[in-house]
């Protein structure tokens, strides 16, 4: 078994490594999480204590329900059986504490009934003890916080999950010992009552044992799974102080509370909120940002770490007087089923660096940073230049640095990885500079960047790769100019194709999205040439030596143009992460380029997007073929491409796709709807690509087909909010007002917003929403978008399209 075959998941506080289809290794770390963050300190002995407590209770509850524990490999690693984990967390409580108390005290028993599905009398005090323990449920959310649900909602949730499970892997009728729950029509109902029953018995056992040790188990959380025979088993952890509240029993009886669990830390942090500055990074000596943007003081961290370690040790000593965690687990040691070094090296290989740099300052780049930030082992995501308004969470912008200072910054701060958003910094050679400084970069090299910066080169590659693309010719600037400058005799000195309308005239190199003109007649040709004439000075960065990348314009020393046959049809785009000849396609997204409803008005950078968009299998195969052939040609010519590759395609009425262009990056606003639905497998492949290592096979990853990344299955919709002037003319700075509490499932993704919510670009940002159904996603998005306003009376109103996802084409001019 090689380390590349082990699938490693870094949880907030545990590492979960699949060593085969049937077995996993769970490693407890000294990390601690609270309030959805991994806190910036380690808690001494925590990993050992947690493992020992879990092992003890797994052993002492086997008579109630089987569990996933097989044996211990060392003081912090245990071998467990794999299973399909139920999408519910089951909470058992014997007192009115935690989130139940919060709801009860704030909104009363009616709300508790509504949210938790639990009947409670009026007038209970905090920590009031119930006559018997009660069970509540939360869903394990694919994104965001876990959500409390009533038993009825939990049943529905289980039913959906079971249906999906049965579709994926129908239960074999021959399996004699398959649990009876799958033979019943009310399988979800039965499963839920099994779970409830088991949870109550487990909790009773936990209370019985802890009471003998002078402790009261107030509440705890269980997770269950179905094993390979589809029998219910207890998974995750059991009765650990991370997932339970323990208090001193004697003190509790006299009306006092001493927490011997993570609650101890939560209470202090809530009391000392000023020290827990989640959204306000403090400047630090010699560095523009603190390492962990959400903490103010090191000594506070140290005191919390030591204090919590003390409480955990105290709990352990109560449960196991005179024993060490090692005493509790040592009898259950068993030999490693795989070489421990291969597990450790798989972990190391699949561990992202703690400090990552994202290049860019647009909405796409914000989304990239947010995507990387989700990795538990990443401490900080620096953004260059980023925007001050992004600071918070793990993001910290470096907008005060020049690009030379950036390389220095990366070296002194030991940045482990740089991920590029936009194309210009790549073409300018920033990725090459960082690579020279020893920092792995996710960006194509300069040869790869030519796919975007030289349209003539791209056309040559496409032709050599035998990819379908429009016929084209090249023309120099002098040749074009001669068409409008009346020369003697009026003889056309230029290529005949320039008279054969319609065609597309494209400036060869980078032109900030404005280098393409459609030409239908002589007049439009004249306008196009005038347009180029006005802008060429600004565009000719390659001629002026501001680009490091090669172009024909630079080679010839004169601006070059591509004259391309106009292809009719509809435009689609496809993005793939590429590494040599390997590639994985991201889910297809659709963006809406026209400014106004009904696909009308001028072209823009994009007014909205949706994902995923289904493509017919034939078309999907054509797209794959285009990537396959292009990457193969590039590799065979000694220029293997690595990084994201964006293909703009035109699909005609016969469902035949041809390549319009390539971009060497993720698209904006497609990224905003694509990345949030993707997970660690893409992130890991991005990292391996940057290291120039082959992608791991992840042979046991569920539902993983070749060249496809796993998607969370949610529909996403993104509506851009722009200044009313956009895209014509520059907008004045305005102050943006964003609703504080966005509807669940909605997020504000900023692009042109600076500190103090001051707008600084035409496209200001947008609202992203996610839901199970497209209609739902669109509806909740449009609930939020109109609430985004500019400050001040009589101020302008932000512009947005009202028909993203379902464009109203009735009576509107058709898109060209």
């Amino acid at each position: 078994m090689t380390s590349s075959q082990l699938e490693v998941q870094f949880g907030k506080v545990r590492i979960n490594t699949a060593i085969s289809k049937r077995e996993r290794i769970l490693t407890s770390t000294p990390r601690i999480s609270a309030f959805d963050c991994v806190l910036p300190f380690d808690v001494e002995s925590k990993g050992q204590i947690l493992q020992a407590i879990s092992v003890f209770f797994f052993i002492n509850t086997r008579d109630i329900i089987p569990n996933h524990f097989i044996g211990c490999l060392d003081a912090q690693s245990m071998l467990v059986r794999s299973g399909k984990v139920l999408p519910l967390e089951v909470i058992v409580r014997c007192t009115l504490s935690g989130s139940l108390w919060k709801t009860y005290s704030a909104s009363g028993p009616a709300e508790v009934r509504q949210v938790f599905g639990v009947e409670l009398p009026d007038g209970l005090a905090q920590h009031a003890r119930f006559s018997k323990p009660i069970v509540t449920f939360t869903t394990k959310a694919a994104f965001g916080h876990d959500e409390t649900v009533t038993p009825a909602q939990a049943t529905l949730h289980l039913e959906q999950w079971l249906n999906a499970l049965n579709t994926d892997e129908p239960a074999t009728a021959t399996a004699e010992d398959a649990s009876s729950i799958f033979k019943s029509p009310d399988q979800a109902q039965n499963l839920l009552s099994q779970v409830t029953d088991a949870a109550l018995k487990l909790f009773d056992r936990g209370q019985e044992i802890s009471e003998k040790s002078g402790l009261l188990l107030l509440d705890t959380k269980y997770e269950f799974a179905l094993d390979e025979k589809r029998q219910l088993m207890l998974a995750d952890e059991i009765h650990t102080p991370d997932a339970s509240r323990y208090v001193d029993l004697e003190l509790f009886r006299s009306g006092k509370i001493e927490h011997l669990s993570k609650e101890w830390l939560r209470e202090i942090v809530q009391r000392e909120e000023s020290a827990f500055l989640k959204n306000a990074p403090e400047p630090e000596k010699n560095s523009p940002f603190v390492l962990r943007p959400f903490w103010q003081s090191d000594s506070f961290s140290e005191s919390l770490a030591a204090g919590l370690s003390g409480q955990y040790k105290k709990l352990f000593a109560r449960l196991f007087p005179e024993l060490t965690p090692w005493d509790v687990v040592s009898a259950h040691l068993q030999p490693w089923p795989v070489d421990p070094n291969s597990v450790r090296s798989a972990e190391a290989r699949q561990r992202l660096p703690s400090k990552v740099l994202v290049i860019g300052n647009g909405g796409r780049d914000y989304t990239l940073a947010s995507f990387i930030e989700k990795a538990a082992e990443v401490d900080v995501v620096y953004c260059f230049p980023g925007r001050e308004s992004w600071n918070g969470g793990k993001k910290a912008s470096l907008n005060k640095l020049s690009s030379d200072q950036l390389v220095e910054f990366c070296k002194t701060h030991k940045i482990g990885w740089a991920v590029f958003g936009p194309e210009i910094p790549i073409a300018q050679g920033l990725a090459e500079k960082l690579r020279t400084a020893g920092i792995p970069c996710l960006a194509p090299d300069l040869a790869g960047a030519m796919l975007e910066s030289s349209k003539i080169y791209t056309k040559e590659i496409l032709q050599r790769a035998a990819c379908p693309t429009a016929e084209a010719w090249t023309a120099g600037w002098a040749e074009l100019k001669s068409l409008v400058e009346k020369t003697d005799g009026g003889k056309p000195p230029a290529h005949a194709v320039l008279d054969q309308y319609p065609y597309v005239l494209k400036y060869e190199s980078l032109a900030a999205g404005k280098g393409v003109c459609l030409v239908f007649n002589e007049n439009e040709r004249k306008q196009a040439i005038e347009h180029f004439s006005e802008n060429l000075a600004a565009w000719s960065a390659d001629l002026a030596g501001r680009l490091a990348v090669d172009t024909y314009t630079r080679r010839i020393g004169e601006p070059q143009f591509l004259v391309e046959k106009l292809l009719p049809g509809r435009e689609i785009s496809a993005i793939a992460l590429c590494h040599g000849e390997e590639f994985c396609l991201l889910p297809y997204a659709q963006d809406f380029k026209r400014r106004n409803d009904g696909q009308s008005g001028p072209n823009t950078g994009g007014m909205g997007s949706v994902c995923p968009v289904p493509l017919s299998p034939e078309l999907d195969e054509q797209v794959r073929d285009i990537f396959r052939k292009t990457l193969k040609t590039l590799a065979s010519e000694g220029k293997p491409y690595s990084g994201f590759l964006f293909a703009g395609l035109m699909v005609d009425d016969n469902n035949f796709a041809q390549v319009l262009e390539f971009n060497c990056r993720l698209g904006d606003p497609e990224t905003q709807v694509i990345l949030p639905g993707l997970g660690r497998d893409l992130l890991l492949n991005m990292w391996l690509t940057s290291l120039n290592l082959p992608w791991s096979g992840n042979p046991w990853a569920q539902n993983l087909q070749p060249n496809v990344v796993r998607h969370d299955g949610l529909q996403r919709c993104f509506v851009v909010v722009a200044s009313p002037e956009y895209p014509n003319g520059s907008a004045p700075r305005r102050t943006l007002q964003i609703p504080e509490n966005m509807k669940a499932g909605c997020n504000w993704i900023p692009s042109g917003v600076d500190a103090g919510n001051s707008t600084s670009a035409g496209r200001i940002g947008g609202v992203l929403s996610a839901a199970a159904h497209k209609e739902q996603a669109v509806r909740s998005c449009y609930n939020v978008v109109p609430q985004i306003r500019f400050a001040g009376e009589n101020s302008a109103i932000p512009h947005f399209r009202r028909d993203i996802c379902f464009p109203n084409l009735n009576g509107a001019p058709a898109a060209k």
Binding site: F56, I59, N60, R62, D63, I209, F320, P321, E322, L323, D327, V328, S330, A331, H332, L333, Q334, P335
Partner: protein, 191 residues
Amino acid sequence: MIVALCSGQGRTFEAVVRILGQHVSDLICDMPDAPVIQRAQRLLVRARCVDRNSFPDRLSHEKQILKELESCGNFQLIVLLGYMRILSSEFLKQLRTKWPESEIINLHPAPLSLYKGAHGLNYALDTKVPRWGITVHRVTPELDSGPVVSYRTLDVYPDDTFETLRERAHPQEVSAVLEAIDTLTRRRPLQ
């Protein structure tokens, strides 16, 4: 696998089983009314009673114990946790012949050098010693002798009663037994 031999309450037995789980497979008890039997049943440990009073002499009683041991499967270790009878040298010889790989240890609530015999904690109270010890040792034909495998010490206070001293000694006993088991099974992990 471990087989425990007990005669009485079985508090230490329970604590050890809670930690070792199914590694403790069997209990053999010589007193039919001993609470340890019920504890074992609750902990899903097979319990059998070889009532000492239904045998005419020690040898026939021990013979029956050996018979029961044969049905205990492939045990690696016999642990005496408050077993109140002395095992004969004939029994130990038989044990070594039949199970040459297995070990037998005894929990003795006293330092071996200071006190041999039953009720070690009472002796500590009676003699008003300021400190006392808990020993786990390999069993040899001689009463409460044999190489020490693990050892713990504890304070004895002037106002200690048997109950308070027993409370203080209990976790030390559990700890000493676990250490001894860990030491003896390190080369050959528990099945």
